[in-house]
């Protein structure tokens, strides 16, 4: 910003559009409100008053069209896997996925004998952040969400990608 420094009045902010967009996107990623198993209880607890996800700009939306982040909270069965994929496809870009808990990450306790359990949600949708735990405490989920926010912040949506 060397050339532009001190050229404007006090109430004018100068920033690159890329950074501005990254900041705006990262500070209000609304998440898609759906739970699959016991991790959903921890997700609800994170959203409730004690941990309060709205502190970091996270707000639950009940429609995939309005959501930016999908928190896959719980065991993904084969039956549900097709629906999770469909819901992910219904979300508008840019979209992110958090795999919450060991079930969503790798099948969890069902990894060996669970004939009906998907062994990791990354087999059907791309995952940005994995949160370990069974189920993870709200603090762990918040840590994962902050990591996601860091990731979103470093994106440069306007910069042309070199092919």
């Amino acid at each position: 910003m060397g050339v532009l420094e001190n050229k404007f009045q006090d109430n004018v902010i100068v920033a690159s559009m890329d950074k501005l967009l990254g900041w705006a996107r990262s500070t209000s990623p609304w998440y898609f409100q759906f739970g699959l198993a016991c991790c959903a209880i921890e997700m609800m607890s994170s959203a409730a008053s004690r941990h309060d996800l709205e502190r970091i700009g996270m707000m639950p939306r009940s429609s995939p069209r309005q959501a930016d982040v999908m928190i896959v909270a719980g065991t993904v069965t084969m039956k549900m896997a097709l629906r999770v994929k469909k819901l992910y496809e219904q979300m508008a870009e840019p979209k992110y996925v958090i795999s919450m808990g060991s079930c969503a990450t790798s099948g969890g306790p069902y990894w060996q004998h669970g004939y009906h359990v998907l062994k990791g949600v990354d087999l059907v949708v791309p995952v940005d952040v994995y949160v370990p735990g069974c189920p993870p405490r709200p603090e762990a989920l918040i840590e994962g969400l902050l990591k996601l926010q860091e990731k979103i912040q470093t994106e440069r949506p306007l910069t042309r990608k070199t092919v």
Partner: protein, 166 residues
């Protein structure tokens, strides 16, 4: 009523239908499944037996050598007695009469047992899978069940059973 009294009540109405099995417990009774709908109707409507509550229907698979069974748990709220009826099936073609029209709860119980064991309940009005997806292959709780390798293009990673926890 005790088991002996219930046994004699059924035997007087349907002679020869009870199969002797000494391994059974205090409240268990093994029956021949051919006249099952008539026996069930009798058990529900007879004032002395009056089994007005169907508590549970379970499937059982003991492996290739042993039986494939349906087990029904009945309870009478009027007389406060209970019994478990056991009916064994042919492994190749497991079929038995549906009792869904007598006890309405039998609808979902029979669908679940069909879903997990592939036992066909003849006369059921809507015998579909209840838990697994409609296009699922195989009967998951059978001893010889092999998991699917591919489901709608989703690969099911194979985990060898011998390897155990490593």
């Amino acid at each position: 009523m005790t088991l002996v009294e219930i046994k004699s009540a059924i035997n007087s109405q349907f002679p020869g239908v009870i199969i002797d099995n000494e391994e059974l417990g205090d409240h268990q009774l093994e029956l021949n499944g051919d006249k099952w709908l008539d026996i069930a109707t009798f058990m529900k409507e007879d004032p002395i037996l009056s089994f007005d509550q169907l508590e549970c229907i379970t499937g059982y698979d003991g492996g290739e050598e042993a039986a494939l069974q349906t087990r029904y748990n009945f309870h009478s709220m009027e007389h406060r007695h209970k019994i478990e009826i056991i009916i064994s099936h042919d492994r190749e073609e497991p079929r038995v009469a549906s009792i869904e029209k007598l006890w309405r709860i039998g609808d979902w119980f029979e669908r679940e047992t069909y879903d997990m064991f592939g036992i066909i309940y003849e006369g059921h009005r809507d015998l579909r899978r209840i838990l697994c997806p409609d296009d699922w292959e195989g009967w998951p709780l059978r001893k010889n069940y092999k998991g699917q390798e591919l489901y709608h293009g989703i690969v099911v990673p194979k985990i060898k059973e011998e390897d155990g926890w490593e």
